[in-house]
Amino acid sequence: MMLNRYRRMAQAAALLSVFSLALTACGGGSQAGAAPSEAAPTTQALAADADQSANGNMVFCGGKDTGIQTNLVKNFNESQSAVKASYVELGPDTSATRTAAIQRLEGGNKDCDIYMTDVTWTAEWASQGWLYDQTGLVKNIGTEIMPSVLDTTVYDNKNWSTPFYTNAALVLYRKDRVQAPATWKELYKQAAKSEDNKLLIQLKPYEGLTVNFLELLYSAGGDAIDQDGKVVIDSPQTREVLQFMRDGLANGSIDRASLTYDETATRRAFESGVGGFQRNWPNSYASAQETNVGPETAVSPLPAFDDTNEPSGVLGGWNLAVPITAKNPGGAAAFIKYTVSRDQQKTMFLTNSQAPVIADIYSDPDVVKALPFSGELKQTLENAKPRPKSPAYAQISQAIYDNVYAVLSTSVSIDDAVKKMVSEMEKAQETF
């Protein structure tokens, strides 16, 4: 009877535990079929004229369709008849899209001829050997892509994708409460003067906090990882920026709600009349125009840290990569060439407000008329730098936002936080 009892207990326990594994075990599935091997992947280059005599179906895969993708596909299909493009949504947001795409890449799925890739994925995807080298194609494109933007496609001195559209943050401010900021230090001073002047930023511990921190760090002349992949974040600039942010929260320059805010929450608070400044992406300008605060909202490029520095920023945006599993790389090349054509880039800016990757479009009279902040955006884009390039970027970013958040929300010493950040980033860089 005792034995029976234990057996039943064990059965019940096993049954119950199945549920806990339902969540966890499926995670491992992504490695299925990946045979252990020590061989480094060989690189395949996409021919510079791969688009010549392209035909057939071409599948474009990416995140949630914001209109820009389907418009592009429609325009491309109307512009010629040899290649027929279609769009496939892989996930509702950036992180889900990455997971879905990686599952396909690891499983050898051949459905996608182009992946729309976030600028931070380049190093990982290139080093995994998932992508065609697009260096030749990029050289043969015929339009001048902004150097800072093109740099987001580079890893190991090769272009692994072609820029689709770009992005950089701006400062939105209330004309009736504050002035355009001269520097970040001056912005914080204005913000501290009144409850209504405060700055709203994204300090929730996620990718957005990494970007917010790097914007300040870059504009103060600091850096996170150098060209050779060495962690250089332990610098006086890092310490100064961390102290600056901590003080900003303590003396009321930064609205403390920012500690729980992402981009959407920031935008909503600003649109309901909170604060004097908002750091956000360009689409928040159009959004503010549709609310009561619209007439009082103005735009400024991201400023320099103080009088002794140059303004800077962090590049966002998306690129177009061709996986080596593509069934129609020629069709993909034709599609990419069409996407970065001057006409199409201008159309995308005017219809979908996404920033073009070609510099002179920002001064086009039609564009200036329709999007009054295009000059500020171009200025920020030209000054902006990419995020650290590393195959282990996800870990690098977590090391940054976890430790910056600790400085902002707890009393941990800045010195300890920086040391921990460095050791976690170095560990990430050494990841097998």
Binding site: L16, S20, T24, Q31, L259, A269, F432
Partner: protein
């Protein structure tokens, strides 16, 4: 998932187990074996294979640099996890969350069940309405709670400020303690009705004879509750508590949406997710998943060891 939950409940709550005597004929046993074989095979496929595969993954390191590159590392991933501050933090925070929220859920659930067991107008409607929070996806309810505690635009912070009560100016999700409180509130709001439903089912099977007998003996309402209702409800309460406890120990959606694990609201599942999914450390993440699974299993085994008899309604049985 739903049907499995039901069958699990049935197994746990089924009446006194059938005792096999030694006289059971071997042929009958063999026949019985072939009857259960399909079920066992299915269990093996859906349960044993993924568990085995996750264990296999957890003994390897998979390169985040080179596709398909991996190496066998034995128990290194487990040792690293058990030596890390992050694991023990997540472990402690998960247990804090689970203990407090499950206790509150049981207390509130029993209270709600007692109320719903009374005869009153609109009782049927109330019983259905009770299930609404439980029917809402956790992610959706987490987003709702996050919005209600928004420092500027949230309903709750606004009400607290208007009434001049403490907490109106607190950034709830950015302070430890407060953030945990929001997480517990969201969980209790959603799952106390589930406990209430199970307890209500338990209440309805208590025969009216025992109440009549106690009334004849002159028992007060309080005595009736503590000496009759509560002991007879024990199996239902214990079942509700273990189901909730195992669920709460695997909490993921709430911290993922509300805080991303900051301010003392981490969880074991969230940590495993971050390693496995975001950082793509497949081996390390799988080891964390297995550790989470083992933790939950140990809790389940201990619980069943002490409450197993009650769950099967055989309270007299002693080990």
């Amino acid at each position: 998932m739903e049907s499995m939950t039901i069958s699990r409940e049935r197994e746990l709550t089924s009446a006194a187990p059938v005792r096999h005597s030694r006289s059971v004929d071997a042929a009958a046993r063999r026949t019985a074996f072939w009857f259960v074989a399909p079920a066992l095979t299915l269990m093996g496929l859906v349960a044993a294979f993924p568990i085995g595969y996750a264990i296999w993954l957890s003994m390897h390191q998979y390169s985040v640099r080179v596709s398909g590159l991996s190496r066998f590392v034995g128990f290194k991933n487990y040792i690293d996890a058990l030596a890390s501050e992050a694991w023990w933090q997540a472990f402690g925070q998960t247990f804090t969350f689970a203990t407090i929220s499950v206790s509150l859920e049981v207390l509130l659930g029993v209270g709600m069940a007692l109320l719903l067991n009374l005869a009153f107008r609109g009782r049927a409607l109330m019983r259905s309405a009770l299930l609404v929070p439980y029917a809402i996806l956790t992610v959706v309810s987490a987003i709702t709670w996050q919005a209600m505690f928004d420092p500027h635009l949230g309903l709750i912070t606004e009400v607290l400020r208007t009434l001049g009560m403490p907490g109106g100016d607190t950034i709830w999700l950015a302070e430890s303690g407060y953030a945990m409180a929001v997480m517990i509130m969201a969980d209790v709001w959603k799952t106390a009705p589930f406990v209430a439903l199970l307890v209500l089912a338990g209440l309805q099977v208590i025969s009216s004879d025992v109440y009549e007998a106690s009334a004849l003996d002159g028992a007060t309402k309080l005595q009736t509750f503590f000496f009759i209702t509560l002991p007879l409800l024990r199996p239902a309460i214990l079942l509700a508590a273990i189901l909730r406890l195992l669920d709460a120990l695997r909490v993921f959606d709430l911290p993922f949406v509300l805080t991303r694990g900051a301010n003392g609201t981490g969880s074991m599942s969230l940590l495993a997710y971050q390693q496995l999914r975001e950082s793509r450390l497949v081996g390390e993440g799988s080891a964390l998943s297995i550790l989470t699974f083992l933790t939950v299993m140990v809790v389940a085994v201990i619980y069943l060891r002490f409450a197993g008899g009650n769950l099967r309604g055989t309270t007299k049985e002693k080990i």
